[in-house]
Symmetry: C2
Subunit: 255 residues, 2 copies
DNA sequence: CCGATTGTGCACACTCGTGTGCAACTTAGT
DNA sequence: ACTAAGTTGCACACGAGTGTGCACAATCGG
């Protein structure tokens, strides 16, 4: 082993014990994963960082992607596709519930959603993402319009603007989850409630709607992708009379 | 004039007709202004760009700031200070109104607020901004707690988390203003209403509160800083019975 | 009108990140 | 066991930004 030049960069570069190396494609996937993770923290993290997080060398990246941009594009299209696809399946007669579902669905994609959304506003990829996301956004806009028309959503903000604001809070909740920590169950509920609030519902309405709609129940997603309803009581045992404690979504006690 | 190397960069560099040069300090101010403007568009815009927007050369910047970082720091501290100061003056017995005022106040600082907020989440300046903004945030948290205690705000989200979400939507509205265009009056109302919605109020409650509270009326701010109430009717002439049309905040007609 | 400020033009050194070329080594697949 | 794909280490060319030095022009403040 010749002169191992110890890179005194930020990355302590644990050159030792290199990953046992699985198959090719797995590494590619790992790269995309790493990219998502890194870009979530720093929107323009270096290839070096990404490669490291994937357990590879910067040089090796070029064995999978011709350009850093290609990698990013992969992350983006992949993300936008996933998000778009899952959102387009949402459907419900009640626009409010559909909006809640929109939030819940987004919640399942926290990582992807955050990066994707970030890129949707910055740099030369705006278009790419915007286009890929357009169908999903269009659907949300339509849902909002329908809700307004049916009289179940607020009428004081133009539907399209409202749709954007809903998307906004949803992402705010995702951010909250990233920065402050928010367990799966709480996040699931919070996105929905927040979205509904912006949509015009009062907090009790929102809570009741979420609590009283089986479709909005929290589901545990198994690794493979199967989902199952998870109704293990929760903290709110006896809530029926709109009385004192009304807690949900929280985590930290009100006092 | 020797070989003028025409920089084929993004900036077309209109070297001609250089600004008639006012006094020294004015340029420094111009630089900060330019920085705010540029950074608002691209969080890591180059000194070249900033200098150009200020009508100066990159080289000249170093006559005012030793480092790019110094300039940024100036922008940040200046912004955080302004925002913090203005927010700390807010006061009202009704927590809901105080929250609305919080939004309205933020609205007056769109430019500053956006950049500052952006930096509050990215890079090594997080601390700087976070610290400078802490008092303001603490106040908002306190207000939210009070509101919850008084029973006028939602009880289903932990106060501190709720405070962060309120800050979030407020900034979302500022972003909406930047990207989609939003005139002063509409923005003023929208921030307040959005904040109140997240705080738990139903949309009619929020609208009524905003419309029925003189302190929340839109004020035209003259260049110097003096503010005056501006109550030129508006579009909603006959609104008293909670009947059909209820428009405010909008701009675009509901159909 | 003179002198100190302030800004301009260019040149240069340095850093960081990207993209390539190559030789040597490791591992999966058959 | 042999081969081909996949990786690793360098080395090098480049581009974009930052930070500095210096001579020279523009301008304000008296």
């Amino acid at each position: 082993m010749p002169t191992i030049i110890e890179t005194p960069t930020e990355t302590p570069a644990p050159t030792r014990a290199r990953a046992p190396r699985r198959d090719a494609a797995e590494n590619r996937a790992a790269l995309v994963e790493a990219a998502i993770s890194v870009l979530n923290r720093d929107i323009d993290g270096s290839l070096e960082t990404i490669a490291a997080e994937a357990g590879l060398t910067r040089r090796a990246v070029y064995g999978h992607f011709a350009t850093r941009d290609d990698l990013v594009r992969e992350v983006l299209t992949q993300g936008a596709a996933r998000i778009g696809a899952s959102i387009l399946t949402i459907e419900h007669a009640d626009a409010r519930i559909e909006i809640a579902l929109y939030g819940a669905t987004l919640w399942l994609q926290v990582q992807h959603a955050s990066v994707t959304a970030e890129f949707a506003v910055r740099g030369p990829h705006m278009r790419l993402v915007a286009e890929a996301l357009e169908p999903a956004r269009a659907k949300l806009r339509a849902t909002v319009r329908r809700g307004v028309h049916d009289g179940v959503l607020r009428r004081d903000i133009a539907p399209d603007r409202l749709a954007r604001l809903i998307e906004g809070v949803a992402l705010d909740v995702l951010a909250e989850a990233t920065h402050e920590g928010l367990d799966d169950r709480a996040g699931h509920t919070l996105v929905m409630v927040a979205a509904l609030s912006v949509a015009g519902l009062g907090w009790r309405e929102a809570d009741d709607l979420v609590a009283g709609t089986p479709e909005l129940a929290y589901r545990v997603v198994s690794a493979s992708g199967t989902a199952s309803v998870n109704d293990d009581g929760g903290t709110d045992a006896g809530r029926a009379d709109a009385g004192a404690a009304h807690d949900t979504t929280t985590g930290e006690p009100t006092r």
